[in-house]
Amino acid sequence: MSERIGVYVCHCGTNIAGKVDIDKVVEFAKGLDDVTLVREYKFMCSDPGQSLIQKDIEDGLINRVVVASCSPLMHEKTFRNVCTRGGLNEYLFAMANIREQCSWVHVDEAQTTEKAKDLIEASVRRVALQVPLTKREVPINPQTLVIGGGIAGIQAALDLADAGKKVILIEKEPSIGGHMAKFDKTFPTLDCSACILTPKMVSVGQHENIELLSWSEVEDISGYVGNFNIKIRKKARYVDAELCNGCGACWEKCPGTRVPRKGNVHEKLSLGPTTSIYMPFMQAVPAIPVIDTETCIRFKNGKCGICAAVCERNAIKYDMEDEIVEFEVGNIILATGFQTFDPEPVKRYGYGRFDNVMTAIEFEIMNCASGNTGGKILMADGKEPKSIGIVHCVGSRDKHYNEYCSRVCCMYALKYSHLIKEKIDAEVYEFYIDLRCFGKGYEEFYDRLLGEDVRFVRGKVAEVTEVPIEEAEKGKLVVEVEDTLVGMVRRIPLDMVVLCTGLEAHESLPDVAGLCSVSIGKDGFVIEKHPKLGPVATATDGVFIAGCCQSPKDIPDTVAQASAASSAVLSMITREKIEIESATASVDEDKCSGCKLCNSLCPYLAIKYDEEKGVSVVNEALCKGCGTCAAGCPSNAISAKHFEDRQIFAEIKGILSA
C-alpha cells in the first residue's frame, strides 16, 4: 500500500510546544512509513493552519491526514471539515491528542515528547488503514420538546413558538411558573416577580404553537437527533380540563387539608388553597385545580364527594386515570430547574427543631403578597419579629454537602434585608463568608443596603442555639458566630433566623438526563458540551439545556440561556436535515454463522436475523455505532466501521512501537 500521509503538528501557542520538543517530533514523524509530508504550525485550528492542510490535499500531495494537536472532542469536526473542503473523505483523517492527554498532564519534557511521538505513530498507522465512509443525512422534525415549565422552559418555548415552530412543553407540577412564581420581588431591581412572569405564563397557555402538558412527566425518550420519539405520562388530575373554568367553588368547600390549618404560621405557609383539591397559586396556568390523593377524604375512605357536588360544570372525575401520550420531536430542551437544599441534616442550625428557623423558600412565600400571610413577616406565633438573622451559604461551599457556590444566595439575602427593612421595624443581620455581587446592578444594590443599616457580620454561623447565657438571650434564638473581621466570637440573640439554602439540581434530573443520554457531573448538574463555547448544547446531538439544570443561576442568566438554547434549536430546524455518524456496524454475510448473539447484544434492537439468508443484518438507521456487537461476535463477522479491529490493532502497535 502506498498511502501518502500528511502529518500536521500543532504548537497550540506554548500549550503544546512548551512541553513537547516539536522539532524532535517532526523529525520522528518524517521517518514513519507512508508519511510523505510533515508540517508544524503555531495554531493548526486557525485559518492559515487549516488552509495549509486544505492546500496540500488539493495539490495532491497527500491522501490521508493526521493532525497532532488537542483532543478530538475539541477539534475533530474542524479538521474533518477541512478534509471535506479539500476534496478528501473526512474519514481518512485521524487525530493525535498531544495536548489534553499529553502536554498538559505531564511534567518531564523528555517523557512528554516521547509520548507525543507514540501517539502520532499510532494515528499514522491507524489512518493508513482507515476507509472512506459516506455521510448519512436524516430530516429534522421541526417540533421541539421542552421539559420543565419554570422561567427557563417558558422562555425557550415562547421563543420557538413565536418563530412559528411547534413546541410541546411539559411540567410535572399542576401549573407552570416554577420557583419564580413563588417570589415576591426579584433582585436587584425589585420588580414584582408575578408582574413580570404572569404575562409570559398566560401567553404560553394561549399560544397556538405551544401544547402545554402540565401535571405530566416524561416516561420514555428514544430515537436520535432530528427524530426523537417521546412518551409522556399525563397524571390524572381528577378534574376535566375541558370542562373546568377555574371558578374555585371546589376548594372553597373542600374539607380535606393538604397543608395543616392548625399548627404555627410557618407550618401552614402556602401560596394557594391549603385544601386537598387545590391550585398551587392563584395565577396558575392552566387555571385548573388538581386533587391531592394523599389527603383527599374521598380517596382515603370514599366518603366525601363535596367537590363534585358543588362543581356546576361537572368537571370533577374521580375515576380519571393516568394517560400515556406519544410525540415525535426533532430536538429537546432540558429545563428541569432546581430544588433548594434541605437544611435538616445541618443539625446545628436547628431547622425542624426551632420554630423560628426557616428556609429561604419559606421566607419567600411568607413575603409573597399572594401567600397566606398576605406578605407579612411573622414569627411562628403570629407576632412580628424584632430581629432577624440571615445565614448565608447553608449547604453551599461546604464539602459535607455541596462544594459549589450557589451563586444567587448572596443577592437574595440582600433582597431579604431590604424587604424586611421596608416592611417592619427590625434589626437585620447578614452572616456571610464572602459577598458575591457580580451581576449588573448587584454591587450597587449592596451599596444601597449598606446605607439601610443592615448589620453585616463576616463569619459562617457556627450554631443556632436556644440556651441563654445572659438575660437578653432568654426566649430568643442565639446565633454563635465569629465576627472574623473583628476577630471576636459573638452571640447574637434573634427572633428569627432565615437559612439561605443553596440550589441543587432537581431530583428528577438524573432520570430525565438518563433518558436523553446526557451526563451528570459530580455536582449533580448536567455537563454541557463545552464549559465555555458550548454552554447550551450537550454531548448528545439534539439535546439542549437551559437554566438551573446546568448550574445554579439567577433569572437574567436563565432567560439568556433559554433564549440561546431555543436559537440553537431553531438553527437546527432551519437546516431541515442533519448529517449523522457513518461509523455504524456492518455484518459480513459470508462469515456470519447466524448465531443471533448480536441480536441480543444490541441495545437499540438494530440487528435483526434475516430468516431467508440465515444471517443477521444491521439496520443502519437505528445503529449508533457503539461496537458492542463487533466485540461480541464469535465469528468476527461484524465490523464496527471506523473502529475496525485492524485499525485498533494498528493503533496499539503504534503506541507501543517505541
Binding site: 446545628r348 451559604c393 461551599r397 463569619g459 457556627a462 454563635e480 472574623t484 471576636m488 466570637v489
Partner: protein, 192 residues
C-alpha cells in the same frame, strides 16, 4: 504576643505552612476560606490568644513564633467540633496536635508549660508501665509543674480515694518489652 508595627517579610517563615501541610493531619489546610466556623464553634474560642481561624491565617502568612507561643494550641480540648464542621474538612484538631508537638520540641511551649509537662509525664508513664496510673501521674505532674497547687487538687483526690476509686499501685503490662521494642523502632524510623 510579640509587638511589631510593620511586619517585614524577612521575619516571616514561609516554609511553616508546608511543614504543617506535610503532616497527616495538615492536609487541606491550604484550602481554608477563613469562614470562622471553627472559631465560632470552639468552646475555648473566647479565651484563646487567637481563635483557630486566625491561627490558620498566621500559619499561612508565616508567623511561626506567634503561633507556637500562643495559648491557643494548649486550650484545644480535642472536642473535634471544629473538625466535623469545617466546610473544607480540615482536620483542625490534628493541626493543633502538630503545633503542640512542634512547640514542645522547640521549647516554645511557654503558654502551655503545664500542659507540656502533663503530656510528657503521661507519655513517660505509659512508656514505663504500658498503662496510665492516674495517682502517680497527678502526683508527678503537680510536683513538676506547680508544687504549690497541690492543695488545690487535694479535695478531688480525697473524693476519689474515699469512694474507692483511686488505686495505689500501678499496673504494669506483662509484655512491656514488646511495647518498648515497638517504640524503639519508631524512634529509628523517625516521626512522620
Amino acid at each position: 504576643m510579640l509587638e511589631r508595627e510593620v511586619v517585614y517579610e524577612s521575619v516571616l517563615d514561609h516554609d511553616f505552612l508546608d511543614e504543617i501541610y506535610s503532616l497527616p493531619g495538615g492536609h487541606e489546610i491550604k484550602k481554608c476560606i477563613q469562614c470562622g466556623t471553627c472559631s465560632g464553634s470552639c468552646p475555648q474560642g473566647a479565651v484563646m490568644d487567637y481563635a483557630p481561624r486566625k491561627i490558620f491565617s498566621l500559619i499561612r502568612a508565616g508567623f511561626r513564633d506567634e503561633v507556637l507561643e500562643s495559648n491557643t494550641i494548649w486550650y484545644c480540648s480535642s472536642c473535634y467540633t471544629c473538625a466535623v464542621r469545617c466546610p473544607k474538612e480540615i482536620k483542625i484538631t490534628d493541626v493543633m496536635y502538630a503545633l503542640k508537638r512542634i512547640a514542645i520540641k522547640e521549647g516554645k511551649a511557654k503558654a502551655g508549660r503545664k500542659a507540656a509537662v502533663l503530656s510528657k509525664t503521661f507519655m513517660n508513664m505509659v512508656n514505663k508501665y504500658g498503662r496510665n496510673h492516674e495517682t502517680e501521674l497527678m502526683t508527678r505532674y503537680i510536683l513538676t509543674a506547680d508544687p504549690f497547687s497541690a492543695f488545690n487538687f487535694m479535695p478531688q483526690g480525697w473524693r476519689l480515694f474515699s469512694n474507692g476509686r483511686l488505686p495505689i499501685m500501678p499496673h504494669k503490662i506483662k509484655n512491656i518489652e514488646q511495647l518498648r521494642k515497638i517504640l524503639k523502632k519508631v524512634e529509628e524510623l523517625g516521626e512522620i
